[in-house]
């Protein structure tokens, strides 16, 4: 039997070497495994870092801080707390053990953990680790204006929707609000409570940041882009006249103007200005047909469609706006695939985010230049020294300054005497555009208001979008936009 026993030994030797080889393989894969969510080694290493704080624009309101937790073995862990709770939940995000990170907590993680490192800081932190000194992260000072943020969240309360306010001159994000919201502390403590949140929409999806990733149909707010295309190409002027029969024929089918009563609503002979003021679908439909889908889409692209807005949030939380097909953005090679009439008034499978529409009005407000949206203004070291400052950057040049001026005048009339009168502010001229996108189901409209103010020297650009509405944008969304603008301009009562 000895030959068999000898062979057996060699079989075992082979099997045991295979075990060692497998363990070695995992070691070789370690760098890739370390980055995976749920790897406790990684999570714990980060828990031992005292993360930097996250502040509002004023530099004093703390949006995310740490709570010390002494472990029984003498180590200290830092657990994240969010004193403002649901108010800034989507922009700030959360950093937890069990569910990883979102929002600025994720995108600014390297700064917050102090690992935005050059060689000397790497050596420092390694020495600190060896000596058991707690590593402290850098602080993030956001651009969020707490008054505007509060006005936005208050206005959205009870609805499903989102609001974004920008400083059109710098791209600074003054408010980034999504409703329903959640308390980030609960993500770790009681996730079930978040799952039980209800809202007048299905699913309530409180964790979804509707401001940057909500899928809305732009409806009539898209007419701003169509009008921009019409004016900027030089093909039309604000005074160009159109004949409105009350409908527009598309592929033999009539598209009628919006009407509360369901009867044909014809305006007769109108100018482009009047058509925008009263949001006349048939005029824009015919305008779109004359411009062609290619031109309209080109202008959408100039305002930032088909490009991910470079806001400092994780890219999976920022949706690209544009035409969608099978859940993905889709840019037709042949513009004739797209119905130019429906495109012109914001239907035709267009999906946009409130952030994108805020960037559109901000571009109009800023003489046609769209600034990069910026949620972080500076990073400071634990001792308060500024580590890095983020200046304004131009993102897109959408239209000529003259076109922007013409559009501003037209949009001012929308608020003065058109569909957006609910956004009027005494002493301030507001330029805006309403939107009511019908989804075909009663009570499921997407309603919008996009605006900027003051019209002559813009300081704030706003987009408010609501889903599952039965009213119009002028009634439901415009008052919220007004509150936000007032909060920014310091006229909050």
């Amino acid at each position: 039997m000895n030959p068999q026993i000898r062979r057996l030994f060699f079989v075992f030797a082979f099997l045991f070497v295979a075990l060692i080889a497998t363990a070695t393989y995992w070691l070789w894969r370690a760098p890739d495994l370390e980055a995976r969510q749920g790897n406790p080694a990684l999570v714990v290493r980060e828990l031992e870092v005292k993360r930097g704080l996250i502040y509002a624009a004023n530099g004093t309101t703390v949006l995310a801080r740490n709570r010390q937790r002494k472990l029984e073995d003498g180590r200290t862990w830092y657990v994240r707390r969010y004193p403002r709770g649901p108010l800034t939940a989507h922009a700030v995000g959360y950093s937890t053990i069990s569910r990883s990170r979102t929002g600025l907590e994720q995108s600014m993680n390297d700064f917050l953990t102090g690992s935005n490192a050059n060689l000397s800081t790497i050596i420092d932190t390694t020495l600190d680790r060896l000596q058991g000194i707690t590593r402290e992260g850098n602080n993030v000072i956001t651009t969020l204006n707490m008054n505007a943020q509060r006005a936005a969240m208050d206005g959205l309360a009870g609805n499903c929707g989102a609001a974004v306010a920008l400083d059109p001159r710098t791209g600074a994000v003054l408010a980034l609000a999504s409703s329903p919201s959640f308390h980030p502390n609960l993500v770790e403590e009681n996730f079930g409570a978040i799952e039980r949140i209800t809202a007048p929409c299905e699913p309530a999806a409180p964790l979804l940041d509707r401001a940057t990733a909500g899928r809305f149909v732009p409806g009539s707010t898209f007419k701003v882009i169509t009008a921009a295309a019409a004016l900027d190409t030089g093909a039309f002027t604000p005074d160009s006249e159109f004949d409105d029969p009350g409908f527009c024929t598309l592929f033999g089918q009539r598209v009628t103007n919006f009407s509360d009563q369901g009867e044909l609503n014809a305006f007769g002979r109108v100018t482009l200005t009047e058509a925008l003021e009263n949001s006349i679908n048939s005029v824009f439909c015919n305008l779109g047909k004359e411009l062609g889908a290619g031109t309209v889409l080109e202008y959408a692209e100039r305002f930032g469609f088909y490009d991910r807005p470079p806001i400092e949030l994780p890219s999976n939380e920022v949706l690209i706006s544009g035409l969608y097909r099978n859940g993905r953005p889709y840019k037709p090679d042949d513009p004739s695939e797209v119905d130019p009439g429906r495109l012109a008034f914001g239907q035709e499978r267009l999906i946009v985010t409130p952030l994108q529409m805020a960037l559109v009005v901000a571009g109009v407000a800023n003489d046609g230049v769209v600034m990069e949206p910026r949620l972080v203004q500076r990073i400071t070291a634990p001792d308060g020294d500024v580590v890095e400052r983020f200046g304004p950057e131009e993102w897109k040049t959408a239209i000529k300054p003259s076109t922007a001026a013409e559009l501003t005048a037209m949009m001012t009339l929308v608020v003065e005497s058109g569909t957006g009168t609910a956004a009027q502010i005494p002493g301030v001229s507001v330029a805006g555009k309403t939107g009511t996108a019908e989804t075909g189901v009663a009570g499921r409209n997407n309603t919008w208001f996009i605006a900027f103010a003051p019209a002559d020297a813009p300081k704030v650009a706003v987009a408010v979008a609501l889903s599952d509405q039965s009213g119009t944008g002028g009634v439901t969304a415009a008052p919220i936009a007004k509150e936000i603008i007032e909060a920014v301009l310091g006229r909050n009562t």
Partner: protein, 427 residues
């Protein structure tokens, strides 16, 4: 230098390593563990010295490496368990005491292990009896989907561990008697007659049936492999191994269809990241632990094994997944060393078998050695993702009384065979 003196020097070495291990855990976790627990190491070493003295008296010619190897494996396990939970380590220490007592009892009362051959059928049937125990209502207990435990009053134990030893003894005796017939078949035919194969298949088949019934997949795999290995050793017929493997694969496919638990395990093995929060959680966490250890490990007590509440990230860390914990804290170097210890154990065990001059001794020693090696391979292979994961203890290392006691009995039997072999040689 006499064999026993060599053994004592080896044990001193093991003792020093144990002391170093405990000391390093103490330094890393002094907020949790008390200085008094350092005496565990001293206590542990003295236990093995007692076993050594017993060998000096009763088995002076036994192999001088097997006891220190068992001791070192035990020490590694105890140190890691101590690091995970000092209270568990205390209990494991008590089990080692029981193990050494069982070891002593076997050495003292079983004067001639070859007499076991006379009672092999009783042992075979008792093995099945032991395996059935957990399935009995009232005393059986199911943990993690498998019914392997027996709960009588103060003691919970896994009879399967002891049954393993009895089955090996049965197979050794039975195969010795029938190996000629099995090897060449009755009357020159290819197939052994039912008369010779029958009892074998009956006892072995009964064991397998019970194991499948109790969902002890690791145990089933172990018994199957022991059976094939011993059959091959006795007959040198590869065809048996091939047929056995075929049967096993057929059985595995059938089980795969019937038991969802098995499907989860196989799918988790094929793609560990298919459900890292659910079915494959343990495997994925085990891989993370192994990968994060690096070449030299985090050091004892410095690995990320426990949540802030002090619970292990991997359930069954101190039993099935102890290898992952060791790999993280002692690194690839430590893990490879541990695996090589099993290889050394196999080397010494098979050496005893090869030197033995009678069939029963050869089969017994090689069977017992193979059982330890196969068991180590099944569980380490499972936690590193080389083979589908089935829960089974790592011999001498995992926390668990039944496992420790059974392996000490294995050790005692191996040393008895070895002593007899070497004494014959000396004469």
């Amino acid at each position: 230098m006499s064999l026993r003196t060599r053994e004592l020097l080896n044990l001193v070495l093991v003792g020093l390593l144990t002391a170093a291990g405990f000391a390093s855990v103490y330094i890393a976790r002094q907020d949790v563990v008390s200085a008094g627990s350092l005496t565990y190491a001293l206590f542990f070493v003295s236990l093995f010295v007692v076993a050594h003295i017993l060998l000096r008296v009763r088995l002076p010619d036994a192999d001088p490496y097997l006891l220190p190897l068992g001791g070192l494996l035990c020490a590694i396990g105890l140190t890691e368990i101590y690091r995970i939970d000092p209270d568990l380590a205390f209990r494991q220490g008590l089990w080692v005491v029981v193990g050494v007592l069982a070891f002593a009892a076997v050495v003292l009362f079983l004067r001639d292990y070859r007499k076991l051959d006379n009672v092999k059928y009783i042992l075979g049937i008792s093995a099945i009896g032991l395996l059935v125990l957990p399935a009995l209502p009232g005393i059986g207990r199911t943990i993690n989907g498998a019914t392997l435990w027996v709960d009588i009053g103060p003691i919970v134990f896994q009879p399967g561990e002891l049954a393993k030893v009895l089955i090996v003894i049965f197979l050794a005796g039975y195969l010795r008697d029938n190996r000629e017939m099995l090897s060449y078949g009755a009357g020159g035919g290819r197939l052994p007659s039912p008369k010779h194969l029958g009892p074998l298949l009956l006892i072995w088949g009964g064991a397998m049936l019970v194991l499948f019934q109790t969902r002890d997949l690791g145990g089933a795999l172990l018994y199957f492999a022991i059976f094939l290995v011993m059959l091959y050793t006795a007959t040198a017929r590869w065809s048996f191994v091939a047929v056995g493997m075929g049967l096993f694969l057929a059985g595995a496919v059938a089980l795969y269809q019937v038991i969802p638990h098995v499907q989860d395990r196989v799918q988790g093995w094929l793609d560990p990241w298919s459900d890292p929060q659910g079915d494959t959680y343990q495997l994925v966490q085990s891989i993370y632990a192994i990968a994060s250890g690096g070449v030299f490990g985090s050091g004892l007590g410095n690995g990320v094994l426990l949540t802030p509440e002090g619970n292990p990230y991997i359930p069954f860390l101190e039993t099935d997944f102890i290898f992952s914990a060791i790999a993280q804290e002692l690194g690839l170097a430590g893990a490879a060393a541990l695996i090589l210890l099993y290889l050394l154990f196999a080397f010494r065990g098979f050496r005893v078998a090869m030197l033995a001059d009678d069939g029963f001794s050869k089969l017994l020693a090689s069977g017992l050695t193979a059982a330890v090696a196969i068991q180590a391979f099944i569980i380490i292979g499972g936690v590193v993702g080389l083979i589908p994961l089935t829960g089974i203890t790592l011999p001498f290392v995992s926390y668990g009384g039944s496992s420790i006691v059974a392996n000490f009995i294995v050790l005692a039997l191996l040393l008895m065979v070895s002593d007899r072999v070497n004494r014959g040689e000396r004469r």
